[in-house]
């Protein structure tokens, strides 16, 4: 039977019809290929090429080839080290809390709640808000003079009057992270909720019959089976958090004392404000490399976890 099918396929492939269909298929995807190539591949390759030149203008011209100088300059720069540290801190802290809170909220929304559909739909609101709105919103919340946070703390007699939440570098970074967590936890909730709904209830029933407690079921059934969803969302959030730009631009503009400058914000400033296009291109590639390394690390970690779960 299989042999017969193979013969039919071979005859079809050698016929002119197959070649004709192949050409048609290629012709159909050609417009998309051209568009994707032009707007995605070309800039990627062009940026890589630019990173080897000392380009200080957006206009075409003859610019000196500097080899890997832009990459070495980044590693030698104390500012680059500082912004990389800020980005790594931002990435790990925000992703950790988004994942933890996201799993807890998803578990809650997966349980038989009253008005479950309503709760599930309002969880989307923070994520649906544009980051620019979210940034402005939290900037007002944190304002030392008229911010809601100080007012709330005052009402509950917890102090905070006149405190400037964005006034010192490390505190400001953490406050921006909270704003980011508030917005992006929703995304984690969706992924985890979708993952939870694929776990068959029989498994929990069987575990219950075997005397498993809910906590044991959570660690031994839920978490191992959620690993694929967790892996996807963690990678997505890590990549997004590492290249965070807009919320910083709106809330702090990198200040005070450059305490909230992240690698993307720094890259933006170097490229467009200072017009160091060659250096900026090298920085953009370094961001890609860092992101790939972090993603690879996560995938490796979670794959190990998956295998342990299976064993």
């Amino acid at each position: 039977m299989i042999e017969e099918k193979r013969n039919v396929l071979e005859r079809f492939k050698s016929s002119g019809r197959f070649r004709g269909e192949g050409i048609l298929a290629f012709a159909l995807i050609l417009p998309s290929l051209l568009v994707v190539g032009w707007i995605i591949l070309y800039p990627i390759l062009r940026t890589f090429w630019m990173s080897f030149f000392d380009i200080e203008s957006p206009l075409p011209g003859s610019y000196p080839f500097v080899g890997l100088h832009n990459y070495f300059a980044a590693f030698k720069s104390s500012d680059f080290r500082m912004v990389t540290e800020h980005s790594l801190y931002f990435t790990f802290v925000s992703t950790f809390f988004e994942l933890t809170l996201g799993i807890l909220i998803a578990l809650l929304l997966n349980s038989p709640l009253k008005f479950r559909g309503f709760w599930r739909s309002i969880v989307v609101i923070p994520w649906a808000l544009p980051t620019i709105v979210n940034g402005a919103l939290w900037k007002w919340i944190y304002n030392g003079n008229y911010g809601v946070l100080n007012e709330l703390l005052h009402v509950f007699h917890l102090g905070g009057q006149g405190h400037n939440w964005l006034g010192s570098p490390f505190e400001a970074l953490n406050m921006v992270i909270i704003a980011d967590i508030w917005k992006n936890t929703s995304l984690v909730v969706f992924f985890i909720l979708a993952g939870l709904q694929t776990i068959p209830s029989d498994l929990y029933e069987a575990a219950k019959v075997d005397g498993s407690t809910p906590i044991k079921s959570f660690w031994n059934i839920t978490i191992p089976l959620l690993v694929p969803s967790i892996m996807v969302v963690v990678i997505l959030r890590t990549i997004d958090a590492f290249k965070v730009f807009d919320i910083i631009y709106i809330m702090t503009k990198g200040g005070p004392a450059s305490g909230t400058q992240t690698i993307s914000f720094y890259t933006y400033q170097q490229t467009f404000s200072n017009e160091y296009f060659g250096y900026g291109s090298a920085l953009a590639y370094l961001i890609v490399i860092f992101t790939l390394v972090i993603a690879w690390f996560y995938i490796k970690l979670l794959r190990q976890g998956t295998l342990e779960g299976v064993s």
Partner: protein, 437 residues
């Protein structure tokens, strides 16, 4: 300021020799000289142009729309598309659109002619610049678009930071308003207001880590007799008046006279809002603050405020920061004549005088024009004094890169991470590296 004067003077003599014939030809195109004279030529100017402006309270979208509508009456065959972005996005928008030639006319800040001019992103309009403009405009305005003795735009917004104060607070704290003539007097007044319990923090500033912070610092550096760059172009702000200015700024925070929100997120508009709410008693700001803070619809202190020339430092110096802006022609424009017509029309005295309430004109004679004076007598009186003495940020090609490293260090000093001297020494080292790179 010395630098501004020398450029201007040299330009006058050069233009006087070379410019008479050219100016005679160009003058028919100048709406300043009368629309009727230029109208026959105006009909020959055709096409569509795009212009990029700043979204602001000075020349607002409405003001620009009105000016553009006036332009259309004189130049019926030119269509103008206008676009507005926040100041923070203006530079980068010009840079990112340069290659695509998106705009024919762009609004540039006083700190960008060197960068855009040297990179040929905006057109050198020296040949189009009539000699009379150099004399007819205020010196600070002329300097706005000059780099290396060439003109890269027509001055349009002439601005500096004035000192605003709440008269009610002064009266209640028994402060003699004459004492606000010096920064020392301002600090004593602030202490008296704080002591009287009228407000928690009498002062607020635009000290978020940005160019607005550097504007305030430069104005104070001038008052304390400091120098930004020395004669050889090396950083000199880490000596004398430059250090004293930053020490003064930090002390005002330590003494509890400056609202700490100033160093966190406050820019000019936050200062205006705090002042309008009666939350602070004094502050530096651009011209636009007068009209908004004195408007009862949006301010609690309307009718209870005054504006003064920026206070003097210990040596009596009191230059205002030059915060002017110019309209430039993008080097990629396909329609330079229409672009030039639009730029020169918007900057013409008649158009500027008509909206003087929002932004003061660049033309000297406007300040004695009863119509202009009537729009804002309080501000015009102070403007006459302050606009004659302005401090210019250095016209260097890498101004932005230099400014960013200085902003970071000044911010560290303001929040107490470093002493003012250490922060400025570090800033000077980094700024020198940028300038020498």
């Amino acid at each position: 300021m010395e630098n501004e004067e020398s450029i201007t003077d040299r330009q006058v003599s050069r233009r006087a020799i070379l410019g008479a014939g050219a100016a005679a030809g160009l003058v028919t195109m100048m709406p300043t000289e009368g629309y009727a004279a230029g109208f026959s030529k105006a009909a020959n100017v055709k096409g569509t142009i795009s212009a990029l402006f700043m979204k602001q309270a000075g020349y607002s979208d409405t003001d620009v729309a009105k000016m553009t509508a006036d332009f259309k009456k004189v130049y019926p065959n030119v269509t103008v598309k206008t676009e507005f972005v926040a100041y923070e996005a203006l530079h980068d928008k010009i840079v990112t659109s340069a290659l695509a030639h998106t705009y024919d006319v762009v609004l540039i800040d006083v700190i960008w002619p060197a960068e855009f001019g040297s990179k040929k992103m905006v057109v050198d309009i020296t040949n189009r610049w009539p000699a009379s403009w150099t004399n007819d405009m205020l010196g600070g305005a002329v300097a706005t678009a000059v780099y290396n003795k060439h003109y890269y735009g027509i001055p349009w917004i002439l601005d500096t930071k004035y000192f605003f104060y709440n008269t009610e607070h002064m009266a209640k704290a028994k402060v003699d308003e004459a004492s606000l003539d010096t920064w020392d007097g301002v600090m004593k007044a602030a202490s008296a207001i704080k002591k009287a319990g009228l407000v928690k923090y009498p002062l607020a500033w635009s000290w978020t880590q940005s160019e607005s912070m550097l504007c305030d610092y430069m104005q104070l550096l001038g008052a304390f007799g400091g120098q930004f760059l020395d004669a050889s172009g090396k950083p000199a702000f880490n000596k004398g008046g430059g250090v004293q200015a930053l020490e003064f700024m930090r002390k005002s925070i330590v003494d509890g006279l400056t609202d700490p929100v100033s160093t966190a997120t406050a820019a000019e508009d936050d200062v205006r809002k705090m002042f309008s709410a009666g939350q602070i008693s004094m502050g530096l700001n651009w011209t636009y603050m007068w009209a908004m803070a004195n408007d009862p619809k949006q301010s609690k202190v309307a009718g209870k405020m005054k504006v003064l020339q920026t206070p003097a430092g210990p040596g009596g110096k009191r230059p205002g920061i030059n915060g002017s802006m110019a309209l430039s022609m993008s080097s990629g424009t396909k329609n330079p004549e229409a672009a030039w017509a639009y730029m020169s029309f918007l900057t013409s005295q008649k158009e500027q005088n008509a909206v003087a309430m929002d932004s003061l004109p660049v033309w000297k004679s406007s300040y004695t024009d009863p119509v202009v004076v009537k729009t804002s007598p309080a501000v015009v009186a102070q403007a006459k004094k302050e606009l004659n003495d302005m401090i210019l940020r250095p016209q260097v090609t890498k101004y932005n890169a230099m400014s960013l490293v200085i902003q970071a260090e000044v911010s560290k000093a303001l929040i107490g991470q470093k002493t003012p001297q250490k922060a400025l020494d570090d800033a000077a080292t980094k700024a020198a590296a940028v300038l020498n790179a």
